[in-house]
């Protein structure tokens, strides 16, 4: 098989020889950019990056490792659009296994990148199911501000952070109202006061300058310096402060548009209030998460160009901010032109990110339901790969198989939007990942229950 595939390669632009060039051939390739799958496609990766992918032919170095994916599907790794991955090994009643909370004295200054543990079993379980990156947000404690979230990879190594402090997460719906004292109006005043306090500190912050070496301006690619290393803590402040210095300093990059602001809002009227924030604070780089009633105001979200990370299949009036929930929400927002991706909002967000592809498949399934609004297969895959990356300005790094992207590639046993398919090979930054987990080890131990010469504890 390998020989046949190699023989079929056309002599085209030669690539420099590299021991770590990998070509995945013969599979159905989906790029993750919204396009439909390509039969008999190829994906070439080298030095941790995608060289080319799709309906391509190129001359490969002689020592290229060729992987025959005939009958398989090949896609970018899944990017979990909203999660708590790496923050919790066990949900509750397990001291030390959960770092999601933030009931301490600080809020906006909290930085989840300090707490991510790449050794947590859910990281491995999701990696083994093709989830290669995740947007990780803290949970809000006493404040509407939950703190700063990160983009991580799920690689089996001790370097999980792709981008630390990528966004500030704030609750401005029902949860925000509760944390602000019982009303949404209170939450909005709190929010504005916090930005005012940040503005005071912001006057003392160093202007952001380009390094002059041709690198992107920080304003274009928001990467936030660690506020704990900031010098603005010594700035004078007025007396009527509600935020600690650390928290106020953490909001300076939000106010200046150097850090994304991820806002949780479900209700249609709450979403409109978030859109209005853009008018009041034009620098804010807002992303909305939730948006169960987004379809009611889809045209306004589309005009605002604010990306949305939505629950895929919420269709219950589970709360009074989700009365109009329907599984057609995502499809209707998409049809209106909203940049939608899928997240796990209050839905086993620390553990079950692998379910995103099942959810995406269900959105495709809606195409067959009269009166429902589904999404195309390519769109559905994009909603769990490139779109969440793009929402945080990382579309040029992760989430698709375009040349130059990080080589996060999954070879699936079949259509990945069918939950019955499985990941067979997972690459992160071009490195093939182990797919063994606590669960696979248990399976091996208990596959056969018959009594043997030693107890099960000796089967390992």
């Amino acid at each position: 098989m390998t020989l046949r595939v190699l023989a079929s390669l056309l002599l085209a632009a030669a690539m420099p020889a590299a021991a770590d060039t990998i070509a995945i051939t013969g599979g159905t390739v989906a790029l993750g950019d919204g396009s439909e799958p390509i039969p008999n496609g190829m994906v070439v990766i080298r030095d941790g990056r995608v060289v080319a992918a799709g309906d391509i032919r190129m001359k490969l170095p002689a020592d290229t490792k060729v992987i025959d994916a005939t009958g398989k599907w090949v896609t970018p790794g899944i990017v979990a659009g909203f999660s708590g991955l790496g923050l919790s090994d066990v949900g509750f009643s397990a001291e030390g296994a959960n770092d999601q909370g933030s009931d301490g004295p600080f809020n906006a200054a909290i930085d989840v990148s300090r707490a991510i543990n790449p050794m947590h079993t859910p990281v491995a379980v999701n990696r083994a199911d093709g989830v290669t990156r995740a947007v990780v947000a803290p949970s809000a404690g006493k404040s509407i501000f939950a703190g700063q979230g990160a983009i991580i990879d799920t690689g089996a190594d001790m370097d999980p952070i792709t981008a630390a402090r990528k966004f500030q997460f704030v609750e401005l719906g029902q949860d925000g109202a509760q944390k602000a004292g019982g009303s949404r109006s209170s939450a909005h005043v709190l929010f504005r006061d916090a930005l005012r306090e940040a503005a005071v500190l912001g006057h003392y912050s160093q202007p952001v300058t380009s390094s002059g070496r041709g690198e992107p301006d920080e304003r274009e690619r928001p990467v936030v310096r660690n506020p704990n290393e900031s010098r603005i803590y010594s700035a004078p402040r007025p007396q009527d402060v509600l935020l600690t210095r650390f928290d106020a300093a953490a909001l300076v990059p939000v106010l200046q548009g150097r850090q994304y602001l991820l806002v949780h809002a479900e209700r249609a009227s709450d979403i409109l209030q978030v859109i209005d924030l853009k008018r009041e604070f034009p620098s804010l780089k807002i992303v909305i998460v939730g948006a169960s009633e987004g379809w009611l105001v889809a045209d306004k979200i589309a005009r605002s160009a604010i990306p949305v990370i939505a629950s895929a299949l919420n269709d219950l009036p589970a709360s009074f901010e989700q009365i109009a929930a329907t599984q057609s929400n995502v499809g209707r927002m998409r049809a209106a032109g909203v940049n939608v991706s899928i997240g796990m909002i209050g839905d086993n967000e620390t553990h079950n990110l692998f379910m995103e592809r099942q959810y995406a498949g269900n959105l495709v399934g809606l195409l067959k339901v009269p009166g429902a609004t589904g999404v195309s297969w390519g769109d559905a895959l994009a909603m769990i790969t490139s779109r969440p990356a793009e929402a945080f300005g990382m579309g040029s790094e992760i989430g698709s198989l375009a040349p130059g992207r990080r080589a996060d590639v999954v070879i699936w046993s079949g259509d990945p939007l069918e939950a019955s398919s499985a990941a067979e090979h997972v690459y992160i930054d071009g490195v093939e990942q182990p797919l063994q987990t606590h669960q696979t080890r248990l399976l091996q131990r208990y596959r056969n229950l018959s009594r043997t010469d030693l107890p099960k504890a000796y089967v390992h």
């Binding site: 009036p317 079950n352 067959k368 046993s413 069918e418 606590h438 399976l443």
Partner: protein
């Protein structure tokens, strides 16, 4: 024991008020008062249907068979015939072309809290756990069920769920009685109650009871406390039953009525089925021994994430394992969940059931089964197929609910609880197209009028929308 003489008149008159007890005058003290065991009787009545034939569909019968180009005939609420393309259509039948589609029995979710934890999930509606005492066999889930829970309709139209067991929560060792409902909207819960379905008793082991009460400095605080309190309770129940047995046999003073003990007596008599929340293998083994000590049978272990470790024990004790496909790690007792749990239990020859415990996942139980099936096949577990996996969704839960003679398989003579799927139900891309319950069409994807809308949703945004 309190003297019964003083209580006799009061209890007797209370029973008379219920209108169902037989009561003999006091001059015949040897005659027994019989407790009404069904004081909240089902008033369910099937809705009208037409003589219906579906042809050319792939049929999963629910008892392990797959019929390609299959035919099903039902009328007057009952399945008349199931077979291949040669099965004749009766005159006057409405014929449905099932080409490319699938027909299955309606899905049965053996573990749901619809109605007792309804949407919206506000505290005013939170009626699933009577967490005031670890032993509350006297509470009945049906008295918490809000028939207007919008979740029922989603389970029907997206999930093809036609029957559900609604259980109390798991805060308590003895959570109370469950109720089996038809997924037919009713003004009252009585209108939804599955006629003839036995009651269940929700029991719980493990983390939940000890967490809820241990944090209140109240027994149980430990797993040993869980078992001790459960055993004390069963010991009382055995004594309670003995008194009533004696009373029925010999007459004399009527024993004092105890609603909690009535439920446990029903279990000891085999009339009420034990539905036992239990995650860990070692705890299931303890519960099995306890059931033998007091002479009852555990019908099913729910959330049995470690069933695969003792699948042989479950098989040998004729206990069903009720499982998720891939939930794991949300608490310590779910830490050893594996994705092959369901097929491994099937492989051991034990009764295998897929459940939801969730108002969202109840809409995709077919996909949960699909995942478990695929994981099992990948692990090399033999004799698995879609037809076998469908047993996890209908036949086996019907068996564990004591209603297998009435539903759960496509068998002539059973109630016509039927789903027509628009594609293979083991695919993420498939949905119910039409659903019948007792032969009445309760959902038709092509007809917005054949879609239930709860009272709660009337006049709200999205009323009558696809959900």
């Amino acid at each position: 024991m309190v003297s019964n003489k003083a209580l006799f008149a009061a209890v007797g008159s209370a029973l008379l008020v219920s209108g169902c007890a037989s009561f003999e005058p006091a001059d015949k003290p040897e005659a027994a008062i019989h407790i009404n065991e069904d004081p909240f009787p089902s008033t369910y009545a099937r809705y009208p249907g037409v003589l219906t034939v579906i042809r050319h569909a792939t049929v999963f019968t629910g008892d392990g068979q797959q019929i390609n180009d299959g035919t099903i005939v039902f009328s007057d609420g009952v399945i008349r015939a199931v077979g291949g393309p040669d099965l004749a259509s009766p005159a006057g039948a409405m014929e449905i072309d099932g080409t490319g589609k699938f027909v299955t029995p309606g899905i049965i979710d053996i573990h749901s809290h619809l109605g007792d934890y309804p949407s919206p999930g506000v505290s005013a509606n939170s009626d699933g756990n009577e967490a005031t005492d670890p032993v509350t066999p006297q509470v009945w889930a049906e008295h918490s069920v809000w028939p207007q829970d919008p979740g029922f309709s989603r389970a029907l139209v997206n999930g093809g769920v036609t029957t559900m067991q609604i259980l109390p929560g798991s805060a308590n060792l003895f959570g109370g009685r469950s109720v089996v409902l038809k997924n037919v909207p009713g003004r009252t819960v009585q209108e939804m109650k599955f006629p003839g379905a036995p009651y269940g008793l929700k029991m719980a082991c493990g983390e939940n009871p000890k967490r809820v009460y241990g944090s209140h400095d109240h027994m149980p605080q430990t797993r040993m406390g869980n078992i001790a309190l459960a055993r004390e309770t069963w010991a009382k129940a055995v004594e309670y039953k003995r008194k009533w047995d004696h009373y029925y046999a010999k007459g004399g003073d009527m024993p004092e009525r105890d609603l909690a003990m009535d439920t446990l007596k029903g279990v000891l008599e085999g009339k009420i089925l034990v539905q036992n929340h239990c995650y860990r293998a070692d705890e299931m083994a303890n519960m099995i021994d306890m059931s033998k000590e007091f002479g009852y049978h555990v019908t099913a272990f729910h959330h049995a994430v470690e069933a695969y470790k003792i699948a042989d024990l479950l098989r040998d004790n004729d206990i069903c394992a009720v499982m998720w496909a891939d939930w794991y790690g949300f608490k310590m007792e779910a830490y050893d969940a594996i994705k092959e749990n369901i097929p491994l239990v099937q492989n051991a020859g034990a009764c295998t059931i897929v459940h939801s415990d969730d108002p969202n996942y109840i809409q995709r139980l077919n996909q949960e089964a699909a995942k478990a099936l695929a994981d099992g096949i990948r692990a090399g577990i033999p004799n698995l197929s879609e037809a076998v996996a469908w047993e996890w969704l209908t036949r086996n839960p019907a068996k564990a609910l004591g209603i297998l003679d009435k539903t759960g398989t496509l068998t002539a003579g059973k109630g016509a609880d039927v789903v027509l799927w628009n594609g293979d139900p083991f695919s993420d891309y498939s949905r119910p197209e039409r659903v019948w319950i007792d032969g009445a069409e309760m959902y038709d994807a092509h007809n917005p009028k054949k879609r239930p809308v709860s009272d709660f949703e009337l006049g709200q945004p999205g009323e009558g929308d696809v959900k």
